[in-house]
Symmetry: C2
Subunit: 333 residues, 2 copies
DNA sequence: TTGTACGCGTTATCAG
DNA sequence: CTGATAACGCGTACAA
């Protein structure tokens, strides 16, 4: 509970000297410095960062807005973000929005009231999905899409999806079901685009009955898969827009006696930790979450500190990972 | 960028009145109130919380120390903690320690320098595993064990483990392998105690060769399981100290042609989301993470605000969940 | 190199 | 009910 004045008094110097001893030791004589250090140790002085932040009108904290922290895909991002922030002396304020814009508003308000210096957005935003973050607030989207406005880090979702579907087609699949995210989710849109491109270039007609709308949860994957099981002319492969839904879908298929990949191939997206361990292990697209988080944080801090940005949008490469959930299309009568 | 003085000037009142209009509107006349509100709207005033916090020597933030945010078990806790903190007007500072006490120190320092008002510890701590949190810092362990000192929320790990092993024994298993966490981890110690108790009361001798040390990761479960596969007299059941290791272990068993549960039963601990969806679904112990997080946060905020604690240690009930990874012991020659 | 003095935006006290 | 003013702890011109 001691303050800088106590230290100054004990050391026999002024508060200014103590302040300098802490933030710019080279501007203080050896003698004063050691006297100050002794005094600090003696009274157990800890600078009051609340006061320091107040003075500098900076909180040295950054809000990370995440739709759901329990989603393992976001966990990877957050770990990278936190790591980087810590390195640079910033704190991460966790903002689990639970998908509601109401909660999002509360966190935005934290920036407006100076409790945070900026925002990392972990939700794909575009012009359509109303971007609720007011202009004038430092913000980087670490998980963007093609239509994202403002600074962002992203992958090429369309190209990645296309790669995946091209691969399925190369295995002989012609009827390829899709388990998508919510219809208006920008990732859904980009990835669906890639799916359509792949079909088109193989001369396969797009059939909207092959699109099942999920919401990126395992549970929705489980349900969507039933839709395909019950079709008279069911698909021979399922392109799921994330790993969790793919895993849920495989569960359903197994329960219906459909073998993966012999009877039906299944693919995921994201490459969460579990994708490698599920049964069969999942063919998927790996996102460089670590790298993306790091870059997003760097970009945000640069904006906050008023440094120039070399680029405002950054597209990182994905990795296509073939595992055991995919195989040749079964013979169709 | 406008401050309370600007508002006061525009509204034609004093700064004190503006301050009161915001924090105690009932102490201000209707007339002044509306003048103030108009002025606030007009200049787009946002109170500077940095100044407010400085004034009140409180940051209204709480550090959540977590060994690894990517661990799905902790995610559930964090979600509950964040939810509760948000409700009560506190922010959550994410403190991913990556298991290092160095990082832990940095976050403790944040409390000492007033950047946070207290700490939620999501690591089982005991007298032995040196508790690095200095006295005088408000701290609650949301994930305690029997030896945890200070305020804590926990489950009865020993009893839960015993319930699980009793169940395996009731299925006819006599040789029950254990995949433990690190040896000195308090959870490991408590759960191992429960294991031993169950064996003892069934008159089964404890065999230390049946204990494989893991580290709570899927990978370590995968490895540990090999140890059992290769034994001449291999166990008929594996009691894994968390779900991830159990899932890893099942992967190994499958790869070795050992069927679960026909040839070998496997059990987990925690009941993470995947436990229900893996194949076969996992018999496990469910911890009330939501409730635990909520209670831990409530307890911490009570300490911070100087309110009396009705109890300093709280033990919550677990749920024993039987799924498909366990079955009768196979016939042994 | 060092010290003095002021300001940052807010709340609390106290007198009106 | 209202207003003037003194804190809160720190950084930093400016003067010495």
């Amino acid at each position: 509970m001691s303050n800088i004045r106590d230290v100054a008094r004990l050391a026999g110097v002024s508060v200014a000297t103590v302040s300098r001893a802490l933030s710019a030791p080279e501007k203080v004589s050896e003698e004063s410095l050691s006297k100050v250090q002794d005094a600090i140790a003696q009274v157990g002085y800890r600078p009051n960062m609340l006061a320091r932040n107040f003075r500098s009108t900076r909180s040295y904290a950054v809000v990370v807005l995440v739709p759901d922290i329990a989603n393992p895909f976001y966990s990877l991002f957050i770990r990278a973000l936190e790591d980087r922030a810590q390195q640079k002396g910033y704190a991460v304020l966790l903002g689990d929005t639970r998908g509601t814009s109401e909660r999002e508003q509360e966190y935005i308000r934290r920036v407006e009231t100076r409790l945070a210096d900026g925002i990392i957005q972990l939700r794909p935003s575009s012009e359509k999905s109303q971007n609720t973050i007011p202009a004038g607030i430092a913000c980087v989207n670490a998980c963007g899409c093609e239509l994202t406005t403002g600074p962002s880090i992203r992958i090429d979702n369309r190209a990645a999806a296309r790669t995946m579907v091209d691969y399925l087609i190369s295995l002989g699949h012609r009827r390829i079901g899709v388990i998508s995210g919510l219809k208006d989710n920008p990732h859904t849109i980009d990835r669906l685009e890639g799916y359509k491109e792949a079909l088109a270039s193989a001369g396969i007609a797009y059939d909207k009955d092959l699109i099942a709308e999920g919401d990126f949860t395992m549970w929705s994957g489980l349900n969507s898969a039933f839709q395909f099981c019950n079709m008279k002319n069911r698909p021979t492969a399922i392109f799921s827009m994330n790993d969790e839904m793919a895993i849920g879908a495989m569960q359903t298929l197994k329960s219906q006696g459909i073998r993966v990949p012999e009877d039906m191939s299944v693919t995921g997206f994201d490459d969460i930790a579990y994708a490698k361990y599920c049964d069969p292990s999942l063919t998927t697209i790996s996102q460089p979450a670590e790298e993306m988080g790091k870059m997003a944080m760097d970009m945000l801090l640069r904006i906050i500190e008023g440094e120039p940005l070399s680029q405002t949008e950054c597209v990182l490469p994905t990795e296509f990972i073939i595992r055991k959930s995919t195989g040749p299309a079964p013979y169709q009568k």
